[in-house]
Symmetry: C2
Subunit: 385 residues, 2 copies
């Protein structure tokens, strides 16, 4: 049910002809209220797609009526024509829904540079068709329509006493860096003020999507949106809400990691006993972005030297000769020297755990990433052809 699991929402996913595959490629999610609270976080890339530039204005007042999302074209670096396309998409949805265009978010994903007149025509016609198809069980269709190289839709639902959070996601990346664009829409029927929704969303994404770093490449189109209808007529405990929202975000993040383009391992890098949480994140991210480490995992090689070399490039507090490293539960490095023989490590399962003990404090963090594979190279070299 994804975005229509919570009360007060309708959604649809239709085929606008944007994807060469002929699959669904345009989704609309509408908040029927009574409250129209919205919050969103965006890519931190300074090269932003037109939908990002538009949506950052829309979200400013914390009021969102609907989100229009398309796959099959990123509408990024398409100039003022592309921005007008985004604007016209919002105008079209607003007109049909009887609301203000300034309350319509737009998200796009696909190849950068795609956004000509043909694209515009298909997006506008698809928006019309999707709004005509809106229904209270359209969440699954919407989650299909935002897929690009995803092999399966990503959906998650969590319910608490009287209210529900449901979401959908596409992509294989993360909020900051991203293998492909990550688009996420999460809905709830809990009643939230805009500032409350914004705080909960930032808290949840900081520990979930922000720590998924599949390939270190930052997308121009990433957006995570939270819509709150208040249809359940309940104000949640804000801490409990943020915890439940984090649960949904983590579930979706793990689904994104599991479906990362060309990956053969889903790697969780847990850094413990760091001097600070920031240090733990820095160390985990540095290892996650190290191509030599990632290629070693692809080859089922517990190459702890590459882990230490990656840690050494950071400014985190650590002593290279007081670090322990485990691969899948086997301590292969103790105090910066060899420990158990590499033959004891079985790296054939897809799920891979790396544990790094920095022995400098008591903070920790986990970064999710993937290995570097032949298929990753192939898929990303053939992407636009």
């Amino acid at each position: 049910m994804s975005v229509t699991a919570a009360q007060g929402f309708e959604a649809a996913g239709v085929t606008a002809g944007l994807k060469s595959s002929g699959g669904k490629d345009l989704a609309v999610v509408v908040n029927r209220g009574p409250h129209k609270t919205g919050a969103a976080v965006f890519t931190s890339n300074r090269a932003k797609a037109n939908p990002i530039i538009w949506s950052q204005q829309v979200i400013a007042d914390g009021v969102v009526e609907a989100v229009v999302l398309n796959s099959g074209g990123a509408n990024c670096f398409t100039g003022s024509f592309g921005f007008q396309t985004t604007h016209q998409t919002a105008e079209k949805a607003a007109e049909l829904l009887g609301v203000s265009a300034g309350d319509i978010l737009v998200c796009s994903t696909g190849l950068i540079g795609t956004g000509d007149e043909v694209f515009r025509g298909k997006v506008l016609a698809g928006t019309t068709e999707a709004i005509a198809a809106l229904s209270a069980d359209g969440g699954d269709d919407a989650s299909l329509a935002i897929m690009t190289t995803d092999t399966k839709p990503k959906r998650s639902v969590v319910s608490r006493d009287g209210w529900t959070i449901g979401g959908m996601a596409k992509g294989a990346g993360m909020l900051a860096p991203g293998l492909a664009t990550m688009l996420v829409v999460i809905t709830t029927d809990a009643r939230l003020e805009p500032a409350e929704a914004d705080a909960a969303l930032r808290r949840a994404t900081a520990r979930t999507f922000d720590r998924l770093d599949s390939d270190g490449c930052m997308s121009t189109n990433d957006q995570v949106t939270l819509l709150a209808s208040g249809a359940a007529e309940l104000r949640p405990d804000l801490d409990e809400f943020a915890t439940a929202l984090t649960e949904v975000c983590q579930d979706l993040a793990e689904q994104l990691q599991a479906d990362a383009e060309g990956a053969s391992h889903a790697i969780a890098i847990r850094v413990v006993n760091a001097a600070s949480e920031a240090d733990a994140v820095t160390v985990g991210r540095s290892v996650a972005r190290n191509n030599l480490f990632k290629a070693a995992i692809f080859g089922n090689d517990p190459n702890w030297g590459r882990v230490l070399a990656a840690i050494g490039t950071t400014d985190a507090a650590f002593d290279p000769y007081d670090v322990d490293v485990w691969f899948n539960g086997v301590r292969v490095c103790t105090q910066g020297g060899p420990d158990r023989p590499r033959e004891e490590v079985d790296l054939t399962p897809r799920a891979t755990s790396i544990l790094i003990d920095l022995r400098t404090g008591d903070a920790e963090a986990t970064i999710l990433t993937n290995d570097l594979t032949h298929d990753y190279v192939h898929e990303n070299s053939a992407y636009s052809s």
Copy 2:
């Protein structure tokens, strides 16, 4: 001739049994004087191999008698035993040469974590054998003995009026980040004071090896050494010397790039009209490290959107809608929008040029890198097995 092209130097390369291939794997370069000036720059990785820790002490007084280099084992993260191996190597060379161990540099390259008793025994025996084999035309043998995954030795010689600079290199990486460890030894018969040698070396490496960024991974063992014998009995014009040294370093850097593990393209990313040289380097490096860009080049795809997305992750001065991008001489992006059709770009040649015009100033820099290929993944996943 590499390191024996300049007067006053002897070298040798022998088979110590460290490499499973059975090839030469231990080299010694000796400065016969009359001057024993030395300068060196090292990896900035905080996880440093034992030879780096040792050599950083040796170089402090600017006096170097000889360099002992081995392939077939990095002697990194091998604990105090490994440090003692490095120390004993210097002691052995010093004893046989009749000099102080404190004037012997040691360099190692190979798998991290390799450095047990067998390794030590072979290194010490090989050092003895190499010193017995020293000769004034041993430079070529030395350049063979430092190779690891290199498919060919890297040598360069430049002569000016009365003095010569010659060098050898191994690896496929760079001084800061490095695909594999980069080891370089450069000799000259010009007469230089230690401070002059140090200044010239830093100036030369900053614009050559430091701008070679094959895969963004920083090695634990990188070292570039300059030895000056003064045997030509000439003090060079220092500016002319630094220019000639830069020429040798650039030549060696391009040979490293040409032989990068698994690469199918040698890519020069030239960033022009930047607000500062630092901005130009930052932008070039960000593009050079972007896996999506690198995979696109492998696939002969002029995907300028990935170039702009990589620029957008930096803090360099630029306007995403006032950037031009050329692939192999074809301007595919003008002012952040599409220009010439991608079909006009021929990316089949190995030599690939990317030109990025930031239109914010008049500074420029060029970063050398390689594409991300199936062979890169294969070679680096199989490295230790």
